[in-house]
């Protein structure tokens, strides 16, 4: 499978008054053609910031400090450009055209004083030579595609005249506008009501078959990824701790954090099972631990876990995990020193 997007050892920092927050600490991941990749993690695990780094949408105090971001083999990390101006010039061409993003909160991501048609036609007018009339036709088509009834009249309305679910559909339509190669969906259902969540998820999984884009789905909800994703990456403390296909992750989880996450999900097949929360809280990324970030909450933590970051153990050509428990020394039964 051809890689559309490849992130190599990405590190992103945010400067704050307390010091540099290392939000993303060496993330490497690939995204194949037409693949749907889920990135799962709790708040502050760096999953969104990894993708904001890719899109070049970090807030002003955020900075990529090292790594490569290859889109079709071209490095689009700001570090690969001679100046910020050059970088922005290139990214303006890519954003919305080759990569698009669906955002978390439909109530705040639409501009309240601009009409829907203005906002929806914007990516089309930015990236094609279509006239306004042609762009309008295409925008109406997009609204129909995402299931907004009577698009012709609704185009002329403002965001506050739409419900949350409808607004999220509009944001999805914007992302689809130029048939991007990569669509990054940043917790697209988190801010919605449960019933609307299901509708929006249905929409995304239907669209997945209709369009040619690869999709990255950021979420903290394993249920969401289970229904849509081909491959899943679990993030914790700014690092990817486990990657695998949906089968690898759900039926053969390796990392204690993944196992912990799965026991927090209600499984309808095992009725009596109690949900088990993971005790403790995630590490402070102002001063990240030098060993495994999960060590303080891990039931199986060993001495070495605190001191050294585990290397990657490969289980199959799809399944990888970073945990000392799967180090060959630990597997032999000896304590890893």
């Amino acid at each position: 499978m051809k890689n559309i997007l490849e992130i190599r050892n990405l590190q992103t920092e945010f400067s704050t008054e307390q010091g540099a927050v290392q939000a993303v600490r060496g993330v490497s991941i690939t995204l194949g053609e037409k693949e749907v990749l889920g990135i799962v993690g709790e708040s502050g695990s760096g999953k969104s910031q990894t993708m904001f780094s890719v899109m070049g949408l970090l807030s002003a105090n955020g900075k990529i400090t090292s790594g490569e971001i290859l889109l079709n083999g071209e490095d689009i990390s700001p570090l690969a450009f001679t100046s910020e101006k050059e970088y922005e010039k290139r990214m303006e061409k890519l954003r919305g055209n080759d990569m698009a993003m669906i955002f978390q909160d439909p109530m705040t991501f639409l501009n309240p004083v601009l009409r829907i048609d203005t906002q929806l036609m914007e990516p089309i007018l930015n990236h094609t030579n279509l006239s306004k009339e042609e762009a309008r036709k295409q925008a109406i088509e997009l609204m129909r595609k995402v299931g907004i009834p009577s698009p012709e009249s609704r185009m002329k309305q403002y965001p506050h005249q739409f419900s949350g679910g409808m607004r999220q559909r509009i944001i999805i339509a914007m992302a689809l506008a130029c048939n991007p190669q990569v669509i990054i969906a940043d917790e697209p259902t988190t801010a919605l009501d449960v019933t609307i969540q299901a509708q929006v998820l249905d929409l995304i999984s239907n669209l997945k078959h209709e369009i040619n884009s690869s999709i990255i789905m950021i979420t903290h909800d394993l249920g969401v990824v289970a229904s849509i994703c081909d491959r899943i990456a679990i993030m914790y403390g700014g690092k990817i701790v486990e990657v695998g296909t949906d089968e690898d992750i759900f039926y053969d989880p390796k990392h204690p954090y993944t196992i912990g996450l799965l026991s927090c999900v209600h499984n309808p097949e095992e009725e009596s099972k109690e949900l088990k929360p993971i005790p403790g809280s995630p590490p402070d990324l102002l001063d990240p631990p030098k060993g495994c970030p999960f060590v303080d909450r891990c039931e199986k933590a060993m001495k070495i876990c605190k001191e050294q970051m585990p290397s990657v153990s490969v289980f199959s050509n799809t399944h990888e995990c970073s945990c000392w428990l799967h180090h060959e020394m630990a597997l032999k039964g000896g304590d890893v020193k």
Binding site: E88, L94, N97, T108, F109, V113, L114, P123, N126
Partner: protein, 307 residues
């Protein structure tokens, strides 16, 4: 919308009625007479004749009824100090002068204020922000008469760059308009700056950027319209205020505007002038306020007129 405007206009007429009533009795309560300056030259008989001619010898209630019924028919009487000249005529000659000067000042205040505020909010150089904040602090704290005097002294008298008296050429407008605009410039630049900084942090700015829009489009299409909402709320009454003239600026620059007429009519007890100018400026205020509400609703689609 039409219903809303109609309702506001009716309310406005009621407000004007109250305003006229209060002003009528308060001006009569002031000691003195419009003819006080003439007492040396006139005999008691002549003064009585004048008082009788203008109805000032009647009981105050009767004067009020007569005045109001004339006013409703558009007759605001003659000036009591410039006898023979209807007050409507005085307003008609002095008002355009004030409006021209006021509009110039409004344009200056909006252009300079929004420009400075935008520069302060978006510039990558910290000194730009510091300079704008310094100017706006001075502008808020410096009274306009002092600023006007300083301008007159340095630009008009010492440097002889600009004319100091009247409004004959466009150059004449510069100093009085800036004197009027200084305070609004400061307020508008502060408002623009803080609201633009706030807007730039909003989520919809990130979405706009994610669509591949240039930073120019993002600022002018997405940010400024949102950032202008508080500025417009402020600008409505500000424009009304500037249109009603400034006694200080008009006096200092010898401009025959309505602000100067108004204040001098009070000191000479020119009752009919006081009344007419009050009603006229009150009506102007009301209309401008309705207009600014309409503009507000036009810019912010979330505002529904009539709620």
């Amino acid at each position: 919308m039409v219903k809303y405007i109609g309702k506001r206009l009716l309310l406005g007429i009621f407000t004007l009625f109250i305003l006229a009533t209060i002003t009528f009795f308060m001006s009569k309560a002031m000691p003195g007479s419009p003819f006080a300056g003439d007492t040396q030259r006139m005999s008691q008989d002549q003064l009585d004749a004048l008082n009788e001619k203008y109805g000032l010898d009647r009981p105050i209630g009767e004067q009020y009824v007569t005045y109001m019924s004339n006013a409703i028919h558009g007759d605001f009487g003659e000036s009591l100090t410039r006898r023979g000249t209807p007050v409507n005529e005085i307003i008609a000659t002095s008002m355009p002068v004030t409006v021209k000067l006021g509009l110039t000042a409004v344009v200056i205040a909006l252009v300079v204020g929004i420009g400075l505020g935008t520069a302060a909010a978006l510039s990558k150089h910290k000194w730009v922000n510091n300079v704008v904040m310094f100017i706006s602090t001075i502008g808020v704290s410096l009274p306009s008469f002092l600023f006007a005097l300083l301008l007159l002294l340095f630009v008009g008298v010492y440097l002889r760059l600009l004319p100091t008296v009247g409004l004959d050429t466009p150059l004449h407008y510069i100093m009085p308009a800036f004197s009027l605009a200084l305070y609004p410039i400061s307020m508008i630049s502060r408002l623009t700056r803080s609201s633009l900084i706030e807007v730039m942090k909003q989520d919809y700015m990130v979405l706009a950027k994610s669509k591949g829009s240039s930073s120019k489009t993002i600022i002018f299409k997405h940010a400024l319209k949102n950032a202008m909402l508080p500025v417009i709320t402020y600008a409505g009454p500000m424009i009304a205020f500037m249109m009603t003239g400034s006694f200080i600026v008009e006096s200092l620059f010898s401009i025959p505007g309505i602000g100067r007429e108004f204040v001098s009519s009070i000191s000479t007890r020119d009752y009919s002038m006081i009344m007419a100018v009050t009603i006229f400026l009150g009506a102007l205020m009301i209309v401008l306020n309705i207009l600014s509400d309409i503009v507000n609703a036009f810019i912010d689609p979330r505002i529904k007129l009539g709620d």
